[in-house]
Structures are given as structure tokens and as C-alpha cells.
């Protein structure tokens, strides 16, 4: 069947079977490979996107369910002039990524957190990231990056 949705502000459409997941549709049909697939039990969060403004693991929904929806993915996060948005920039500034595989999901989760909680505590950040696994960073610098993106003081990276 033909599915259409607004992705990062643009109308896009493609073919999907009933069983096609939104994550697969974004990657394979729309060529938006920034959204990653890290598991098959909806537990890693690498596939996190926003659907109609809500943070969603795109492997937990069928593409057909997102027909007509507004979808935001990592590809649409940078500022209009191509510079990194404040969450992306904070991830770079604070070394919040290593291999980069969990990163799109982490950024989408962080953006969503800051929309509802402008100044989250460390505990609130860790709580919010419960659905996103990172194997590289031990989360230390991800937590720091999100604190920094929310305008809170964090000790400088590499304090020496």
C-alpha cells in the first residue's frame, strides 16, 4: 500500500506492506538511514523519532499507523543554516557519542525531554533515557551533554 507522511516538514511517500515497521519504512523506503535499528524487541531506542510531536520508538509502530502523521527524524534536527541544534552541539562539545549508533535515538530522546522539562536534574535525565541503550559512553557524557543543552552548569570536559 502507499503511505504518505510529513517527514521533517516535507511530504514523502512510499510503498509498505501491512507488516512494515515505521523504522524500516524510514530507512528502506524513504532512504532516511539516520534512524537506526539496534534490536528486535523494542528495547534499545536507536530508532527513536517523533511522531506528531511525541517521542516514539519507530520499531514499535507500523508504517501504516503513521500514514498522514508528522514525523521528525535526526535528519531534520540541525538548524536551518545547517549548524547543529543546541542538543546536537552539546553532544559534540561534551563527547556524548563514540560510535554514533545510539546517537540519533539519544538526540531525539533528549530533544523530547527538554521540550517538557527545560531544566531536568541528573536523575530525571537518566530516568528519561531508560529506553535508550548506549554501549560506548557509560552515559556519563550523554548526561552531561543534556544538562549543558538545557543551559545548566556542567564541569568542563577534560577539566585539566
Amino acid at each position: 500500500m502507499k503511505i504518505s507522511m510529513t517527514v521533517n516538514g516535507k511530504t514523502m511517500s512510499g510503498e509498505a506492506e501491512g507488516r512494515t515497521l515505521l523504522s524500516t519504512f524510514l530507512r528502506e523506503e524513504l532512504g532516511l538511514t539516520g534512524t537506526h535499528i539496534g534490536c528486535d524487541t523494542s528495547q534499545c531506542g536507536a530508532c527513536t523519532v517523533h511522531v506528531d510531536g511525541k517521542q516514539v520508538k519507530s520499531c514499535t509502530m507500523f508504517a501504516a499507523e503513521a500514514d498522514g502523521a508528522e514525523v521528525a527524524t535526526i535528519e531534520g534536527q540541525a538548524n536551518a543554516d545547517g549548524t547543529l541544534n543546541k542538543v546536537q552541539q552539546a553532544f559534540q562539545d561534551h563527547h556524548g557519542l563514540q560510535c554514533g549508533f545510539c546517537t540519533p535515538g539519544m538526540v531525539m530522546a533528549a530533544v523530547s525531554l527538554l521540550e517538557t522539562n527545560a531544566k531536568p536534574s541528573e536523575a530525571e535525565i537518566r530516568e528519561h533515557l531508560q529506553g535508550n541503550i548506549c554501549r560506548c559512553t557509560g552515559y556519563h557524557n550523554i548526561v552531561k551533554a543534556i544538562m549543558a543543552a538545557s543551559g545548566q552548569e556542567v564541569p568542563a570536559v577534560a577539566a585539566e
Binding site: 534490536c39 562539545d93 563527547h95 563514540q98 554514533g100 557524557n141
Partner: protein
Amino acid sequence: MPKDGIGASTKRREDIRFLTGTGRYTDDINLAKQLHVHFLRADVAHATINGIDTSAADSMPGVARIFTAKDFDGVGGLPCGWQVTDKHGQPMQEPKHPILAEGKIRHVGEIVAAVVADTVEQARDAAEAIELDLTELPAVIDMKKAVADASVKVHDDLTSNLCYDWGFVEENKAAVEDAFAKAAHVTTLELKNNRLVANPMEPRVAVGDFTAHDGMSTLYTTSQNPHVIRLLMGAFVLGIPEHKLRVVAPDVGGGFGTKIFHYAEEAFCTFAAKQLKRPVKWTSTRSEAFMSDAHGRDHVTKIELALDADNNFTAIRTETYANMGAYLSTFAPSVPTWLHGTLMAGNYRTPVIYVNVKAVFTNTVPVDAYRGAGRPEATYQLERLIDQAARELKVSPVDLRRQNFIKPDQFPYATPVAVEYDTGNYDATLDKALDLADAAGFEARAADSKSRGKLRGFGVANYIEACGIAPSNLVGQLGARAGLYESATVRVNATGGIVVMTGSHSHGQGHETTFPQVIADMIGIGADQVEIVHGDTANTPMGMGTYGSRSLAVGGSAMVRAAEKVINKAKKIAAHIMEASDSDIELKDGQFTVAGTDKSLAWGDVTLAAYVPHNYPLEDLEPGLEETAFYDPSNFTYPAGTYICEVEVDPDTGKIDVLNFTAADDFGNVVNPMIVEGQVHGGVGQGIGQAMLENCAYDEDGQLLSASYMDYAMPRAADLPMITVDHSCQTPCTHNPLGVKGCGEAGAIGSPPALVNAVLDALNRNGHDIAHIDMPLTPSRVWQAMNK
């Protein structure tokens, strides 16, 4: 010195693509007319295959072809890269490791048939229509049973389930026995190093391609070492010469060891693409990853420490059962031997040591290197044992360690387990860690915990590891079937920009940022003028790749050597142009000057002259400015440090809270502190995962019980604390040009014993008498130990 040279926390340039969704991982690669493969994997651990009926599946929609073992007649098995010699001087038992199961299934997840179709869904649907005729056999899972009882063998053509019985150092055995006979005190521990799954977040992917016009095979794969895959797959499996085979490992989403090895799926996709004349792609699901990525650890050990009446260590003796799984993965035999036995001296002056390792075949997924590989197992045993000895002797575990340290003036220090530590200062990292962890304030914090009904504990562990793998001639004597040098080509362009082609591979380590920092420092130009190329055998020199914390120590050294050659040649060109002698030319801040004069030339003027050689010493010097170096280290490097963990245990539930974690490491010189600290954070995260959460479990029939993130507990953000990291105690490596040691594995090595020691401290100082609890220290295990 440029602002982004050695020592600067330069931000990572690779982050831009990863943060904007424009990274190019293997699964992002799709080739025209590509087919997809779905592997039908065994769901039993041990069985005879009587027949595979694909007749219904063959004609299913979209199916291009179904492969079984008979299609691989004449194709080699997956090679093992290391041959261990046992204590009797005999080579290890080495079974064939077929691409697809041949006649027998030996572990859950082994590939029985491969369905290639137009889409993944069609391939999966067709696989369901394949009929297997199997006779199930009893499975061999427990290592000790596998050795004691040979009635069920994993491999019928081997004499037993024992791969090798290794004694190290065999000549020390009598002296060790003697020291134990004379000991004033002996401490013994039996412990397990839990089986783990590395779980890089990117599952493995392979895309095979064959282009008829030039007869080239290309494999895109999630690998830490594309040249190694090209060599193993080309020469030993498929018989494709290296000049007809290209292996590309683009952005790779984490490795941690498990993407070193050559896997059946890689060989399959390359082979099938050539057969079918169309690209063939495989993307692992996470469930497949659990049953096909090589697992890690899985040792069962008895370790004993002999001490004299003054509490000096006099001998160590160990007996370890190490699981190999059903087949030998690429470097599996080296992990419990040369990467483990050689580290059993730890940071201490134990005069004699004997290590016995029995490597065992079982009906489980192959086990191979995972972050630290052998060194975490050695460190864990030793650091748990010393804590227990201190408890039995009623002395401080810190004092007992310090008393037995190799002291700073004793380097270079030859251990009784065949390695020579070049530098170190273990007192310094211990002092630093105790200070950062506020050891002095611990009793007050413990009293506060007690007032809240919680048990607080403080755990210390030291570690040493051998990195910078490795001197080729040495590892050759030890059974390695490969050299372990690294390579780099430094290509200077006419206008002065530089491309470094390296055999090292980055899958999260940040080489694209750190390697240019080194070149910028050497020449005095901006790091942004240097580009790193890696991960493609077509445009990088033969290299051994990234593992064992070797990239900067070995790959970086190769790059330095190549850059030195470039600089020497550039100085000759500059000398010619400025009519001076070579030896008077200095290069600083990107300017060549003649000593004692005001003559100078910019870097770009000289590089231009190299490619536009009008005023040029053509009789003596070739045009161009490009050099390659291969660097073979003369020794391992020996990073070391002290890790301290502080926990609170809830006595009602056994739940552990990690309150503070401190890592004081000696990595020698540091190129990018930000990246080094990130490596330690990640390693500690995995080590805490091993100690508290992660466990790869089989039932006695060989069913994998932990085959998804529902059952295998990965550390999540709320499980881990902020981590205090320090690397200011630096004793630079004496034998590589950068004085660096390697930082990738330390975190995963030092943290498990620190955490377990902290928990046992919490329990024992609060009235319990518990010698040991096996990892992972789940609430139920801790509670049961407290309520026995």
C-alpha cells in the same frame, strides 16, 4: 604548537555526520539489484542432520537460491588465527569450522541453510518452509563435565572435548609447589568469570558484491580490521587472491572485540554474490547477534596465593577452565593463554607463578576476545584473591597491595610470566585514587549509611594490562599465525594538505580527530589540514586493525614513522631551495628555517616544490612527498591503574547502588584527554555491567536463555553513576615514539573486581562472613549470600 595538537581536547570531527544522521554504516549501503539472505539457524544445541528438504521453499516467491553445506564442498572452513601448544608440547585440537553446518549441528544459532531472495521477508518466509530431519543428541554444556566425561563429544573426530591443557610457565611448576609447601598462609578462591555478549549497538551486517567486468569481489562488513578479513577469507576460505578482493568496513557502530573475527556470514555473502552475480546482503537481527556473535569471558577458576609470615606474596597457582564454545573463533585460543597467563603477576612482586588453563569445547556459541580479553579475567581473580587474603589475615587490603607492589625504581621489571613491564608507578595511581575517592571520609559515610539501614562498602582494585599488541616475532613464537604490526601512508598534497591512510580502524575511538592532532603537532599546521582514510583495503596499506588498545600505540607509531620520513625529505627539499645544508633546517609552526639565518620557507612552498620540481635536487631526490611505514612494536605496553568503587547494599533486598566510581589510570602520554576519558567511562560502564547485570546463560540442553535485551540486562543510564576519571599519573611508554600505552580496555578490566570487592566489604564489615559471590551480583544473589 598548534592549538589542536597533542594534549588538546579537540572536539571530534566525525561527530557532525553521526549527529545529523549522515553516517554511513554498513546497513546503510544498498547496491543495485541486491538480494537478501536469511539464515536458517539451528534451534537445538546438538544434533545429527539427516536431511534438509528445500523442495517446497525453492519455489517460494522471490527465492533466488537456497544454499546448504553441500554447496560449500571445496570451500575452506573459517580459520583459527592462533595455535596454542599444550603443556606436553602438542598442538591444540583444532576442528573444522564450516560456513554452514556439515552433517551435525553443534550450537544453537549455527547456520543450517541460507535462503537468498529478492527481499528479506521473502527469504524469511521461504526459510520457514524448509524441512529439517534431525536426530537430537545430548548437549555438552558444563565445562568440567565435558572434560571429565568424553561419552558425548562436540566433535566426533577429536579425542576429547579438551582443546588444550596449557601450563605456564611449566618450568616454574616445581618452584611454585615448593613455595606453597613453605607458605605461612594460603588463600584460595573459586570463582567464575561470567559469560558475556559484547553487544555493540550496531548489529553485524555483510554485503557481498561481485563485478563481472573486472572479476572483483567486494565485501562491505562491520569489521574492526578489514585487512585481516580480506586475508583470512581470501586465502583460507574462498581462495580469492587479495588483488581480486576488496573489504570495506565503513562507519562501524562499536566493536568491543566481537567485530575482530571472521564470520561465516561474511564468507557466505561474498561467495553467494559471485555465484548469483548479484549483490547479497545480510543484516543481523539482535536475536541472531546473541546466537552468532562470538561471546566473551566464561572462565571457571581456582586460584591460590601463598604468603610468607610477613605477608609477602611468595607464589600464585591457578587452574582455569576456559570455554571455547563449539568451534574455535579467530583468536579464541590466545585469550585464556597468552592474553591471560602473562598478566597473572598483576602489579605485584610475586616471584613464582603457575597458570594452568584447560580450554574446552561445549555446544555453545564460540567464545573469543571481548573488551580486555583475558586480562579482565586475570585481574579479577587476582584482585578478588588479594582482598580475601587481607580479610583472612586481618590487614588492610590497600596496605597488603602496596606492600607487594612492584616499586617505581624496579622498572623495567621482568615478571615470572614471561613479560617485561617497561614503566609504571602503582603507588602513584593508588594514592591518586584514594585521594579522589575520599578514602579518609569513608568511615563517616559508612556510619551515615548505617543510620539509614544501608550497608556501605569500599572496594579497591589495581590492574595492569598488556596493550599495543604486539611484537610479531614474539607472538609468532607463541602460536600467532599473523604479524601484529601496523601501517600508515602519509600523503602530502601539492598545496600542503595531508591524507593519512592507516591500517587502524575507528569504530567509536575517534581516530579521525586524534591522528590529525599528532601530525599537526609534528609539522606545526592545523589539524584541519589533515584527513584520515581508514577502513577500506583498496586505499589503505595492509594493516592489522583495531583491538587490544593498539591503535595509537602501534598504528599511531606507524603514522609517526611515516611522517618523520616525510619531514626528512621535505627538509632536504627546503635545504636545496634555501641553499643550506640539510642538517641546518628546522621545522617549526609550519615554517622551515635555516639555523642562524633569517631564511625561511612555508610548509606549503616546500610541498608545492615536491610536486612542481623546477628548483629541485632531481639527481638526489625523487619528486613527490608520500611515505609509508610499517611499525612493529618491540614490546607490549603496560597501562595500569587503581579503581575504587563505593556501594550501598540494601540488606532487605540485596540491591546494590553504585554511589561513586573512581578511576586513576596511567596511560603514559595522552593525545586527546576528552577521548581518553570517554574510553574509560565506556569501559567502566561495561565492567559495572558485567559485575552487576550481564549474564549470558544456557540451560543444560544448550538453549540460550538470554537471547534478547529482555533477558540479557544491559546497563542503562540509571544503573550507572557519574565516573571520576584521572590520568595525571603518567609514566610514558619507553619504546614507542609517542610514549603512549592505550586506554580502550582499562575501564572494563579494572572495574569488575573493584565493584565486587566493594560489595563484599559492605557485607563483611556489617557482620557477614562471605568470601565470594559470583558475578553478576544481582539482588537475588546478594540476598541469598546474606541469608544462607
